[in-house]
């Protein structure tokens, strides 16, 4: 009877000891996994921000103005569509001319280009001497 009691008392103690030894290892692994995951997330976020900024860098148009201006370049100079309405063309011309006025830090050459662009878009080209 005494021997049986001793054995029964010993088993629960052994089990509890094993359980206590296993818990710290699992906890440690969990913490490590969480840390690695967080690090990966941070790097992914930084990469996303970096890539998002790249498309904003637009490439400048190469070379200088064309020898003879055409409708396409006129639209680009004023920043409007080729088929924009007269009101939009006038508004854009005023805005761009204010930004490039020779009396306010601009240059006469660019100002003449802007005026030429407006005339071309409004149908007042060199050959266009119609009444309307």
């Amino acid at each position: 009877m005494l021997r049986e009691l001793e054995l029964d008392a010993g088993r629960p103690a052994a089990q509890s000891v094993e359980f206590d030894m296993a818990t710290p290892l699992v906890a440690g692994l969990s913490v490590a996994a969480a840390a690695l995951s967080g690090r990966y997330m941070i790097r992914a976020w930084q990469a996303f921000r970096t890539q998002a900024a790249m498309p904003r860098v637009r490439r400048f148009y190469p070379g200088g103005f064309q020898g003879e201006m055409n409708r396409r370049e006129a639209a680009l100079i004023l920043g409007v569509r080729e088929r924009a309405t007269v009101d939009k063309i006038k508004e854009a011309h005023r805005r761009v001319m204010v930004a490039n006025h020779p009396d306010a830090g601009g240059s006469h050459y660019v100002a003449s280009k802007i005026n030429e662009a407006k005339d071309m878009l409004m149908g007042k080209g060199k050959s266009g001497s119609s009444i309307f």
Partner: protein
Amino acid sequence: MAGRLLANLIVMGGTVVGRAMLQAYRQAIVNANKTGAAQEAINGIRRASKAMTEQEARQILGISENSTWEEIVQKYDTMFERNNKNGSFYLQSKVHRAKECLEPLYQKPDVLN
């Protein structure tokens, strides 16, 4: 009988599609000539080999041959910023290219110094 009819339909369909494509191609050429895209492409090829000239660069920035590099940079910053806010991207590009064109001429003395 059915096979022959089907063949006729296929031939007629092909003819119609071919004719439509030909018309579309011709119309595209006409549009390119009107809007100047074709001419711009040709100019682009020619101008790609020839960059902006020094004279045009000076005209764009509104400076003379006696201007110093500091004046050029100040003028460039002013025009670039104003076009960035109220101007157009195309003019901003031209201002940038003008400075690029003049930079080698003025950087040589600095290198020598």
